[in-house]
């Protein structure tokens, strides 16, 4: 048992060191590329990154010693590459992004300490629902403020953040808790609509109410990305929990209907759709499609190996530090760099999914699936949008984009995954030990 534990942690430490070296090298190269000189602070930078990651690693050693050793290094690498790009694209964002990274690590450690058994969170499901809804409403209170036309910000003291990011986490916990409690009943059909068998509306009600409230608020804020993300998360979790395909079919049909209504009813949705289908339309190329066209040019400029860090012109893509950071990566690191980033996501999501398969408890399973879906979908929606595989929906690329709320929440999600992993592995090991001892 201790053998596996120490092996996992040694691998983790080794990978963290490797990721830190990659990050520091990228930082040095970006400095060379933009100013033709090594950044003066490259050694302190290396020290700080290493210190942050070692803190996270030690916390895992102490509080989740049996956890998977791959996830933290993957997140650290994504975060490191993201930081290098944010700092290279906008030097003014370097300090806040570093602060947020430190806060993210703090939240990671705090989550590991506070959540000793993830299953206990199930008890607070309605609290999470309440917190989630309150967080979503926060921007409309006096604490909220508008920035760049989006009423999605709140300020507490000196810290400005997007409560919606935290709300996603609260709603995820509510979904998991509620579905575990009611999954038996939800999978029994009590009445029919046409060919579809549906469960008791009394059971479905709270769930739909919660989802509906969240969607209405997001749509009211004209923030399509989070609403799409939340809907996907909801559908996947209900489907996995109830094992009923009809939920997925019905949900997808409702989504299609909703999308159609949005397309015809909201003035800002139709042009986005047209920009996706025909971005080089002369009416759109300097307007609605400008971002996506510039991002496409950036990717094309990158080609296979990229222009080199600091040597491209990614600043020509609007909002490149947040929604479009992947376009900058594609330009300067090329197809190879972009693919590496996507593979990091795949490995991270894969680890989470594997975890959800081996977990025994339904809540653990659902939580892991939810987190995996959240990260996978988020990366898929934004990279798909930038590469014009999907219509563009602005959303942060987890761990990579500039943005504090997103970074902190993702580190909390990561901590939950590691806690789950530790829990599951510890239990498995105990079982193995028990069986190994002859009765």
């Amino acid at each position: 048992m201790t053998e596996l534990r120490s092996l996992r942690r040694r691998v983790e430490l080794g990978l963290i060191l490797l990721g830190t070296i990659i990050t520091a090298s990228a930082y040095a190269l970006a400095g060379l590329g933009t100013t033709a000189s090594l950044p003066a602070d490259v050694v302190p930078f290396l020290g700080v990154v290493l210190a942050l990651m070692i803190v996270a690693h030690l916390a895992v050693r102490r509080f989740a010693p049996n956890a998977d050793g791959l996830m933290l290094p993957l997140a650290a690498l994504l975060n490191g590459i993201g930081y290098v790009f944010v700092a290279r694209l906008d030097t003014e964002l370097a300090a806040p992004q570093a602060t947020w990274t430190a806060l993210g690590i703090a939240a990671f450690v705090a989550t590991l300490i506070v959540v000793r058994r993830p299953r206990d969170l199930q008890r607070y499901r309605y609290t999470f629902l309440l917190v989630g809804i309150l967080l979503l409403l926060l921007p409309f209170t006096p604490l909220g403020f508008e920035n760049l036309g989006a009423q999605i910000w709140a300020r507490i003291g000196p810290i400005a953040f997007q409560p919606g990011e935290l709300a996603k986490l609260a709603l995820l916990l509510f979904f998991a808790g509620y579905l575990v409690e009611n999954r038996e009943l939800l999978s029994v059909s009590t009445f029919k609509i046409g060919p579809l068998m549906l469960p008791d509306p009394k059971r479905l009600g709270p769930l739909l109410l919660a989802l509906g409230a969240a969607l209405v608020i997001f749509v009211y804020q004209s923030d399509l990305g989070p609403s799409l993300l939340l809907l996907m998360l909801f559908l996947v979790m209900v489907w996995v929990a109830t094992e009923r395909l009809s939920y997925l079919v019905l949900g997808s049909s409702l989504f299609a209907l909703g999308a159609y209504v949005a397309y015809t009813q909201f003035s800002h949705v139709a042009p986005r759709f047209e920009a996706w289908l025909d971005p080089w339309n002369p009416d759109l190329v300097r307007g609605e499609a400008y971002q996506i066209v510039q991002a496409t040019y950036a990717l094309a400029q990158g080609g296979l190996t990229g222009t080199g860090l600091g040597l491209g012109n990614p600043e020509r893509v609007p909002v490149v530090t947040t929604d479009f950071v992947f376009a900058a990566i594609g330009e300067e690191l090329g197809l190879l760099g972009g693919t590496a980033v996507l593979i990091c996501f795949l490995l991270l999501v894969g680890s989470a999914l594997r975890l959800s398969i081996v977990a025994d408890h339904a809540f653990d399973k659902l939580l892991a699936v939810g987190i995996a879906t959240l990260i996978a979908t988020q990366a898929f929606i934004i990279v798909g949008g930038i590469t014009r595989l999907l219509p563009l929906t602005g959303i942060a690329l987890p761990f990579v984009s500039y943005g504090g709320s997103s970074l902190v929440v993702n580190y909390v999600l990561l901590a939950l995954l590691l806690r789950l992993s530790d829990d599951v592995t510890t239990r498995q090991l105990r079982r193995v030990e028990r069986e190994a001892v002859p009765a």
Binding site: L32, G33, A36, V236, W239, V240, A241, E243, W280, V285, V293, T296, Y297, A298, L299, A300, Q301, G302, G303, L304, G310, L311, N313, R316, G330, G334, L335, G338, T339, L342, F345, L346, V349, G350, L353, S356, I357, A362, K365, L366, V369, A372, T373, A376, F380, V383, G384, T387, R388, L389
Partner: protein
């Protein structure tokens, strides 16, 4: 639930597979088309934002340089001398491409030659300023004298060193301001460009090397050289009968001498007084089309001079004069025998005095003078002297190389003496510079039936006594309706003399090491021309 999770895993894998496929499409398969999309200004902006070296004259005047500006285009091209070097430097415009040295030496200025790109292994990792600077062979003082001497008359001046082919001055009026066309603002650039394009005087045309004119009597230098090279003419014979007019075979239209003068004699004499009747007869009968064409082509006619400027015009000497009809004293016409008459011998007689369809660029005529001056060897004309890197270290010095052997050294020496005679006692006397050996040939080319509409030409060379001349020059002043007849000796010779005189005096460096932003107006204005043209105006032409 595990079955659903496995399916979800597969679904996510498929989604990411689609992402990889799409990423490959955008970054690999469609990448070239996307980069070439006219809407995509990335490459262009990157190209125009890169450091770009300076163009300066050999005496240090800045002709073109890049200044950093705070716009999407990070650098802008600036031409401190405005129109003075426009037709050499050309312009460098985001919207209209580039011309001149900016075009021909683009790779050097942008730092894209292997010599500039990779000086040491560490360069692979460092984004240093790789741009190269181009040092022109032109001298700003000579160029200024050419501009001032020509004044507001339409025309061209080309001065070069016959020994190396390096061009010292290349000026034509009207000229244009490359700053206006290189403006990053498309509306301003477009306005300036259409203004220039609509101007009937066509200021953007590099007349000195891109436009050709009747060379008139200045072409007699080529005819003389052709005669000497063929051996059918020597300095002593034949001696042409002094006449006031001569009518070629197969026509009734006589060729006359300027002012109805009577002239004739041997080569030096007919060259000295620019005798039309003698040269017409020499070209049409003594030499014939093949010898003349061969002689002209030996000087570069019917070909493009290998100058390092874009699109030099081809000077022409027509070669088709029909079938030979008769040869004196023979039953059958023999093209190899002097005196053979062709179907179009009257045109050949005109061509021999630089009329008919003969057309030459001022550059070509300067090369003719240079060939005679340089023992018959015409060097490749060059406007660039050397390339330096961003630190000012020499990267490459352009080596002179011979373009053509127009005539033998002995014939060249003889013709050179004859041309010196044209200055000391003939039509080009206004070109004489005390203390120097100066040779020349005037030309007055009729451009229309109207005899008063003429281009004034002069070609020549000058240098210290007994040495290979240091400077060759060609000047053309175009016909001007308001002025009437313009004889080369009166109109063009003073211009040539001023240019030669300045070019013979040593160059004084304007600014040796030029910082990027010196005082707005570069060199101090030239000292006033200390040799006013005090010659009487009623001298013989």
């Amino acid at each position: 639930m595990n079955r659903q999770i496995r399916r979800l895993t597969i679904a996510i894998m498929l989604c990411y597979l689609a992402l990889f496929a799409q990423l490959n499409r955008v970054q690999i398969f469609d990448a070239q088309a996307l980069r070439d999309n006219p809407d995509n200004t990335r490459d262009v902006l990157a190209n125009y934002s890169r450091p770009r070296g300076t163009v300066s004259t050999i005496d240090g005047a800045v002709v073109a340089r890049s200044v950093e500006v705070d716009t999407p285009l990070q650098r802008q091209r600036e031409y401190p001398e405005a129109d003075l070097f426009a037709q050499v430097s050309g312009f460098f415009s985001l919207h209209y491409g580039s011309t001149g040295v900016e075009q021909v030496y683009d790779e050097e200025l942008a730092g894209q030659t292997p010599e500039l790109e990779l000086e040491s292994l560490s360069d692979l990792f460092v984004d240093r300023d790789r741009s190269g600077s181009v040092v022109l062979s032109l001298r700003s003082d000579v160029q200024r004298v050419a501009r001032d001497a020509l004044g507001e008359r339409e025309g061209s001046v080309v001065a070069l060193d016959p020994r190396s082919g390096e061009i010292l001055a290349l000026w034509s009026w009207p000229s244009y301001d490359p700053n206006l066309i290189s403006a990053p603002d498309i509306e301003r650039a477009s306005e300036a460009r259409s203004l220039y394009l609509l101007d009937p005087a066509d200021p953007m045309l590099g007349r000195a090397y891109q436009e050709r004119y009747f060379p008139g009597s200045s072409f007699k230098v080529v005819v003389s050289a052709a005669g000497l090279e063929s051996g059918r003419v020597t300095m002593d014979e034949p001696s042409y009968e002094p006449v006031s007019s001569w009518t070629p075979p197969l026509t009734t239209r006589p060729i006359t001498n300027a002012g109805g003068a009577v002239c004739g004699g041997t080569l030096a004499e007919i060259l000295r007084v620019s005798c039309n009747t003698a040269f017409a007869e020499m070209g049409a009968l003594t030499l014939g089309p093949e010898v003349l064409a061969e002689g002209a082509e030996g000087f570069g006619f019917n070909g493009r001079p290998p100058i390092d400027l874009p699109a030099p015009a081809r000077s022409v000497f027509p070669t088709d004069y029909g079938e030979p009809l008769s040869t004196p004293d023979l039953d059958d016409p023999d093209p190899d025998v002097a005196g053979t008459v062709y179907e179009n011998t009257p045109a050949l007689a005109q061509a021999a005095i630089g009329q008919h369809d003969v057309a030459a660029t001022p550059l070509q005529m300067a090369l003719v003078a240079a060939g005679v001056a340089n023992g018959g060897v015409i060097m490749e004309p060059r406007v660039v002297h050397e390339i330096r890197n961003a630190d000012g270290d020499l990267v490459e010095r352009l080596q002179p190389s011979a373009w053509r052997q127009a005539m033998s050294p002995s014939n060249a020496a003889a013709l050179r003496q004859a041309m010196i005679g044209v200055v000391t006692g003939g039509t080009a006397w206004r070109m004489a510079i005390p203390g120097y050996e100066v040779g020349g040939k005037t030309g007055t080319a009729r451009v229309a039936e109207d005899v008063t509409s003429t281009h004034a030409w002069i070609v020549g060379f000058a240098g210290p006594q007994g040495e290979t001349p240091h400077v060759a020059v060609a000047v053309v002043v175009l016909a001007d309706e308001d002025v009437g007849e313009q004889a080369g000796g009166r109109v063009a010779a003073p211009v040539a003399r001023a240019v030669l005189e300045r070019a013979l005096s040593p160059a004084s460096p304007v600014r040796v090491d030029d910082p990027p932003d010196p005082s707005p107006d570069g060199a101090p204005d030239d000292a006033p021309d200390d040799a006013p043209d005090d010659a009487p105006d009623d001298a013989p032409e």
